[in-house]
Symmetry: C2
Subunit: 349 residues, 2 copies
Amino acid sequence: LIDTPCIKIDYQKLTANINRMQETCTKHNCNLRPHIKTHKSIEIARMQMKAGAIGITCAKVSEAEVMAAGGLTDIFIAYPLIGSAKIDRAIILAKRLNRLILAADSLAGAEALSREAVRHGLELELRLEIDSGAGRTGVTAQNAADLAEAISKLPNIRLTGLFTFRGVAANLEECTLLDQVKRTLSQRGIEIKDLSAGSTPTGLACAASGLLNEIRPGTYVFYDQSCLLQGACQADDIAARIIATVVSTPKPDYAVIDGGSKTFPMDVQLSNKSYAHVLGRDDLILDKLNEEHGMLRTSDGSPTGLKVGDVLELIPSHICPAVNLQNYIYIEEGGVIRRLPVDARGMVL
Amino acid sequence: LIDTPCIKIDYQKLTANINRMQETCTKHNCNLRPHIKTHKSIEIARMQMKAGAIGITCAKVSEAEVMAAGGLTDIFIAYPLIGSAKIDRAIILAKRLNRLILAADSLAGAEALSREAVRHGLELELRLEIDSGAGRTGVTAQNAADLAEAISKLPNIRLTGLFTFRGVAANLEECTLLDQVKRTLSQRGIEIKDLSAGSTPTGLACAASGLLNEIRPGTYVFYDQSCLLQGACQADDIAARIIATVVSTPKPDYAVIDGGSKTFPMDVQLSNKSYAHVLGRDDLILDKLNEEHGMLRTSDGSPTGLKVGDVLELIPSHICPAVNLQNYIYIEEGGVIRRLPVDARGMVL
């Protein structure tokens, strides 16, 4: 029915994952604004909205455009929007959506947004990104309040929120940091409405902390082997499988599957150096990938026992980039498999 | 004109690279069957054919379908074709193309092809893959002659060739190995017509060796930083650039560009652990990537000197997976930039 390599999603687990995260958020009175980077699918974004999400999060304006075309009307682009081409596209979106929230982490970035907002005669809603330890985008904690104050004075910019991404559990320091900056700003007469943090590993704790009013997890819809090893899910929660076929067994001690680096992302290695976990075969390691070749070996060098034509189910170390490599994913529900386009795949702009 | 991140190709360098490889092959009377995995573009495949290529090489039947739809008529799928879905698709292609060459590295694989060929009443042209040291697909050297002999007896299969992939320069051992197996088979009364090897790093030497009648380089159309470090090209030959914009400089010692692992492949690291080389900035290292974030730092920890909005040109460590991440590449010729679809992008089946 489906050919390999491909990604298969268990619909029941997907819906359970969506509902479980939403229920925790609802219980703690915290908004859920899931990041669509994991599924890049209009249909799954709509499922998340239907379950109770306040809106969605995208990384790029081109992703937001795809989601807007799919009927999503409340979108946060959680990435510094730099460059006139992207700002022009965001302004078109802002006119069309119920709510578009943009991001900045520098005065230069916020000023450019302000200039364009003035020129188009509209007001843009903005959140300031603060680094809580991930070491990527986000103004440093010590500069955050001053930058927020400067941004709050820019014309046609409404600074409504602070946000951060930590990614790993770290004693809620992402939440306490945002709360501190909010209090500092309040003392300076600037009221911040929305504090947003929380990834899949940290989301539930952030939602329960009472310090935030929004979390933005993404991976929780499918989960992956990294989530499992971080304790962010149970093995049974993982909704995604990469299905692959053994195409070659030149020697007993290794086998080649039909998915390589064009199928299995290489940005996260598991503790055993593997890029995926083979279901039912804890002894197998996938640690060598060419574009179309995945080399499977056993951890102790013993024969793999695999033969040409064997079909394997694997859980990737990181599901989000795996989905980005596919034009379609396959949803299995009650024995029926249907094909879902990865609508926002490859949207890098 | 073009927004970032994106891949820009210098048309003059592209044509020079295509012509130079072709001229060497023509001079040494060796056929050139370029692998389209690098560009995945119908237009560039046609440029290679026009320059004198005998046909093209694909890795997957879905890639071959895209190329066939683009008018390419002589295709070698250099990958063990396993599974009835793929064999069915290959047989449809075989009926339509002037020449389709399939691959096997196991008796099971060849037998399945033979069965379907008999059922459809056609003959399939086949090449046997032999491992010359890459340790992926390909029957071992010691088993090659016996397997070739067994395959040569299968009904409706015409075993016309042997092929291998070595990937790194290794004293022409890929060529001498194929030649040896061919001689052994000749002594057993089996005549092999085509010997095919040669990647971008080894292609010119293989073509000049006089031992083969076909090479299958791919990367040479664009080249990349790995090719340069392996001595497979000069810096001026590299036709591909990844253009990226600095979106964030939270601290002086690092800057974030708008391309991460969704833009820069992570399968090859340069000797300085970088995933790309920043043109004009030998001191910068790109060694930390999230999906949309690329963190640039200097090798000695000194300030990067970069500011938000700076546009950088980078040469990726490995261009082929970089192209697979893009829906379009941008061709620059005489100051004019046009958009080329990556036609066979994401064709994993």
